[in-house]
């Protein structure tokens, strides 16, 4: 069998806030195979955000191991983690997090800027990524000239432009209405289906989680359940056609 994209074992994360010690993650084991579509669910304070940050190499585990694409990334320093984020992880946030002074195209180019990709290739790949999310004609718009759904699709284009191993989406539909949410989830599903990108989705909404293939529920820093989705939802109209 192929090496899993993500393999974490007895992973713990403890924060110290003054005298208080908070155990955000308590011995979590999780394996995610390539091309999987995983939804992490849990109430606030359950540790799902911490898990997300560790999976996204934004934070380091206190103990336990984390293998990404077979490489141990749990003990790497800040700059090595930054490199891994740039190459292997694509982030999609609830608040879109686009740079407001830059055009959609330039926002998509951003990860390649830090990966030293030559500017010609950078432009080419950005246009390609925008085409994938159906926004190739909006490349020169600033974020505030785009709708919420469009902004989130630009963010998705930015996340996939470096061909990452995983796409980490943290409440990607939190700021969107139902129709737009479905549209955005459609794009994510399609990327998962057609390009085999592994997706990890963090959400607290059941109907959004049902777009995934597998749902992991977290509570009190532990994995409570890990099940396959029986009746998976599929976005009605695939993205790009939506506008």
């Amino acid at each position: 069998m192929a090496i899993p994209v993500i393999e974490i074992a007895s992973l713990c994360k403890t924060y110290r806030i003054g005298e208080l010690t908070v155990e955000a993650l308590r011995s979590v084991d999780l394996t995610i195979e390539s091309a999987d579509f995983l939804a992490i669910m849990g109430a606030s304070g359950s540790g799902k955000s911490t898990l997300m940050n560790v999976l996204g190499c934004l934070d380091r585990p206190t103990s336990g191991t984390y293998h990404l694409d077979g490489n141990d990334v749990g003990k790497l320093d800040r700059d090595s983690l930054a490199r891994i984020r740039g190459k292997k992880i694509g982030f999609v946030f609830q608040g879109f997090n686009l740079l407001s002074r830059m055009t959609a195209l330039e926002n998509v180019e951003l990860p390649m800027l830090y990966d030293e990709v030559p500017s010609g290739i950078r432009r080419e790949r950005s246009i390609e990524a925008l085409r994938t999310v159906g926004l190739e004609d909006r490349g020169h718009h600033l974020p505030n000239q785009l709708s919420g759904g469009q902004q989130q699709r630009v963010a998705i284009a930015r996340a996939i432009v470096n061909n990452p191993s995983i796409l980490l989406a943290d409440e990607p539909t939190g700021n969107l209405d139902t129709t737009t949410s479905e549209e955005v989830m459609g794009v994510v599903q399609r990327l998962n289906d057609e390009r085999g990108i592994t997706v990890v989705l963090v959400t607290h909404e059941n109907d959004i989680a049902e777009f995934a293939k597998r749902i992991v529920t977290v509570r009190d820093g532990k994995i409570l359940s890990d099940r396959m989705v029986e009746k998976r939802r599929f976005a009605a109209n695939c993205a790009g056609a939506g506008e």
């Binding site: 700059d79 984020r85 997090n97």
Partner: protein, 408 residues
Amino acid sequence: MNLLSAVKVSVRSLRANKMRSGLTMLGMIIGVSAVIAMVAVGAGANERIAAQIASVGSNLIMVIPGSTTSGGLRGGSGGSQTLTIDDARAIGKELSAVRATAPNVRSSAPIVYGNQNWSTLVQGTSPGYLEVRDWQVISGRNFTDAEVDAASKVALIGKTVSENLFGGEDPIGKIVRIKRIPFTIVGLLDGKGQSPQGQDQDDVVIAPVTTVQRKVSGTSHAGTVGVILVQATGPDTIEEAQKQITVLLRQRHRISNGQEDDFSVRNLSEMLAVAESATKIMSLLLGAIASVSLLVGGIGIMNIMLVSVTERTREIGIRMAVGARQRDILAQFLIEAVILAVAGGTIGILVGAGGSMAISRFAGWSTLISPIAVSVAFGFSGAVGVFFGFYPARKASRMDPIEALRYE
């Protein structure tokens, strides 16, 4: 991230806040232009003083008569009448380190031409005087040794005298009366400007020493002179010439060993050194004061960069999330600070240069913009950018990406 992209990113964010960037640069502009203008004023003053001293004559030595003692009362230096025209001739002929000599008698007298009159300094000397003082006749001729021997009534006039007596007329060949004695003007002297003491050196009539002694000053001791000017053969031989003059004059004046000289020998290079060190201190002081404003400009940059880092916390978080390393963030903010400082410095250099030109034009001070001051100011503003930009940039680069992304 390569340097070019980093510069592009920085320029972009600076342009997004034009007003703020402009005001921040203004601090640097004021600082650098102040440094440039102040140093230019200092250097201009320095050069002007050096030029004035040089205008007295190069490699110049002055031989002054010693003090007199009569009935226990000692007169000041130059009071006695111990130097003669023959002394001057001997110094010129016998000494190897001497190029030219000129005895000098001075007298103040009114000059009359037609219905014009003008009181001026009448100076009696030898033809060598012009050589000693690096002075040129621009029209007509110098008088000759033969005219000195014959005590001819000929004279050279300075520019100021010519302007006052003759206006636009050509003075050559005209007859003027000095103390009622007619003199023929044979030459007009080139303008020499002010002396280091501030006197107008062009307000002068120069005539053969013999003529002045006999007809104008009417000295009690025939053949004595006030001062002998000596020009050494070069800057290196000034001291040697001084020694030779002392030995020769002691011989000629029959001064035995142990007895004091009845004259003294001085050179002008000491004067030059004193004046130069004074102006150097002035330049340094002006530069130091101006540097304070440069420092203030640097603090302004730091202040704005700190604000900018805080404001853009989220941007920093996003950049870190998509793969920016600490050094990428550090570089971005450091480059911004350096661009602010260097752009401000460049404009400041232009403003400073313009300002010093305005000073020299309207205030009449001479200024000198040295390439060294310009390059130092440029380099210094870059250094200010690095120095004051480093702390905010480091602060930005050390942010925790999770915290930064959560920042509202």
